[in-house]
């Protein structure tokens, strides 16, 4: 390690003296890091919706808006008695507003429905409901039949008269799942292809820059330099290229986040609601990956010129 200053000085000298290939390698790293930096949060966000949908496998038993407390209590008791029901959760009218507000964000609903001016709706049009969780997602339809068994005329005959409608998240869930699944697959394939392409591209750029200097390596060997003595400056050079390339990419990503994503997030609930991967871990991972790829690329490429 006594030689570390020498190696670093050598790496800087090489960067200065071979500016064109060094810049090519840096730009390659910059572009791929930038693309990955955009793609990874998008992938992560789509994965998030997916898991949200998965946990929504329950039945929503909506009651009549004007149902009395006694009717509600009776319906709750009946629902709890059913087979394959794990848990029943009552959602009052007020809680329904809360949930809606959560989904669509604050804004006009901030103070509840009665704050809305010129509303044609009654104070709170949302009905009370029960969330019925089956003991397994497979029993969802079974429970649904129990809650509202089809009558002789084909129309469902609900358990109690207060029950207005029974919906399950399943139909929607299936649709959303299949769509997000496809999107996720496409994005994942793109990301993998991009990753392979970038590794090859970076490796090739480094290879070319080292190939241009193979005579230099040959001379070093003839003077009696040990392999690692030759290799270290190249690896440090690779690390420098990685740091600079990834650094520029991170700077651009940050600018993009501040100027494009952040203003959107305050205006659109949708963007805000997606909790994606944090900026700092993302940046750390990207920088580490680009440094690793470029340093490893330099080291491996050099190997064929170091054979004695």
């Amino acid at each position: 390690m006594r030689k570390l200053p020498f190696f670093i000085a050598e790496a800087f000298r090489a960067l200065r003296r071979n500016a064109a290939p060094s810049i090519a390698a840096m730009v390659t790293i910059l572009v791929t890091t930038l693309l990955l930096g955009v793609l990874i949060p998008v992938l992560k966000a789509s994965a998030q919706t997916n898991s949200g949908v998965r946990s929504q496998l329950d039945l929503n038993v909506f009651l009549d808006s004007n149902a009395t407390k006694a009717q509600i209590a009776r319906t709750g008791k009946a629902l709890r008695k059913l087979d394959h029901v794990k848990r029943v959760q009552y959602v009052s009218k007020a809680e329904a507003v809360q949930i809606l507000r959560q989904r669509v964000g604050g804004g006009p609903l901030k103070g509840g429905f009665h704050q809305l001016k010129h509303s044609p709706l009654p104070a709170n049009p949302l009905p009370p409901s029960f969330k019925v969780f089956p003991d397994s997602p497979d029993h969802l339809n079974l429970v649904r039949h129990e809650v509202a068994p089809p009558g002789s005329n084909g129309k469902p005959q609900p358990l109690t008269s207060a029950i207005q409608e029974v919906t399950s998240g399943r139909q929607e869930a299936n649709k959303i799942l299949s769509v997000t699944g496809a999107v996720k697959l496409v994005l994942a394939v793109l990301a993998v292809l991009l990753l392979i392409a970038s590794v090859l591209l970076i490796a090739n750029t480094i290879r070319l820059s080292i190939y241009a200097r193979r005579r230099e390596v040959e001379v070093m060997r003839l003077v009696g330099a040990k392999n690692w003595f030759i290799r270290w400056p190249f690896i440090i050079e690779g690390i420098l290229v990685g740091v600079i390339g990834a650094g520029c990419a991170v700077a651009l990503l940050w600018v993009g986040k501040v100027t494009i994503v952040d203003p959107l997030a305050t205006d659109f609930a949708l963007v805000n609601n997606f909790s994606t991967v944090g900026f700092v871990p993302l940046v750390a991972a990207l920088v580490a990956a680009s440094i690793g790829v470029s340093a490893f690329g330099s080291g491996v490429t050099l190997r064929r010129f170091l054979r004695i």
Partner: protein, 289 residues
């Protein structure tokens, strides 16, 4: 193998005795061998036999030439001695050690003990004269202080103290070769190999380079020079190993060997070659003749 080796030694001794009236004060018989090639055979991929059962010994402090036409195996011989090329058969001993038995990891250590000079100089184009010479010291782990002391010293020896911060492409061929010699000698290796050191240079410059190699030889370093410059070799009056088609065809000390100072040497060679008085064809013309 050992038998053949000892026979070679005996032949060397006989030759040394025969030439004893002209030989330097210490006879080769009393000196340990620095380079020993025993039945060395080198076959390149594709089947070309570059060296065929070459056996020769160079003793410590000797100045010897390897001569022969282009493609006869001179360069291969030099490359074999620094293990850039490994022989298909036979043994290569440097200072009594079989260099093909040492581990690949240790090869750099071997090369640090052998100075190497090439026809195309092999300087690092991105480094100044100073840094090119310094690199040979940095490789061996030389401290900064050591480098600062030794590099100007060696550059003074080769007469380049004024061009210390120039880059190789700003130097003439002769100057570049001087840098290359400085780099080869800065670690004071016991053996200096030169592969066509004057191949790209004019006769006047060549004499300067040869004078430099002779000066290095006089410090006790064994010098082995591969060249096709017959005229120069004749004027040097040193041992000549002639190779043709990968075989040693002649190995003898040229008569008239004299111990002389480097200045005497340069003056004599210049006078004999007519350089400076003008009008003699250079080494390249001789080679084709």
């Amino acid at each position: 193998m050992a038998l053949i080796g000892s026979r070679t030694t005996r032949r060397e001794r006989t030759r040394a005795r025969r030439a004893s009236h002209a030989a330097p004060p210490t006879t080769t018989a009393q000196r340990p061998p620095v380079v020993e090639l025993r039945e060395g055979t080198v076959v390149y991929p594709g089947g070309h036999v570059a060296l065929e059962r070459v056996t020769l010994t160079v003793y410590r402090g000797e100045f010897a030439f390897v001569v022969g036409p282009t493609g006869c195996g001179k360069s291969t011989l030099i490359k074999t001695l620094i293990r850039e090329v490994q022989p298909a058969g036979g043994h290569v001993l440097i200072a009594g050690r079989d260099i093909n038995k040492i581990r690949a990891r240790k090869v750099p250590l071997l090369r640090r003990r052998i100075g190497c000079v090439f026809q195309d100089f092999k300087l690092l184009p991105n480094r100044s004269v100073y840094d090119n010479v310094a690199y040979a010291l940095q490789v061996t782990g030389g401290t900064r202080r050591e480098i600062r002391r030794k590099v100007p010293e060696i550059l003074r020896l080769v007469g380049l103290q004024a061009k210390i911060h120039n880059y190789p492409d700003q130097l003439s061929g002769g100057e570049q070769q001087r840098v290359s010699i400085a780099r080869a000698f800065v670690n004071h290796p016991p053996l200096l190999l030169a592969d066509e050191p004057t191949g790209n240079l004019d006769p006047e410059t060549s004499i300067g380079i040869m004078q430099l190699l002779y000066r290095i030889n006089r410090t006790g370093t064994t010098v082995l020079v591969a060249t096709h410059d017959r005229e120069m070799v004749d004027k040097m009056r040193r041992r000549v190993i002639a190779i043709e088609a990968g075989r040693v065809v002649r190995d003898q000390a040229v008569a008239g060997y004299r111990d002389e100072t480097t200045t005497e040497f340069a003056m004599r060679v210049r006078a004999e070659m007519g350089v400076g008085n003008g009008g003699r064809p250079n080494g390249h013309g001789q080679e084709q003749a």
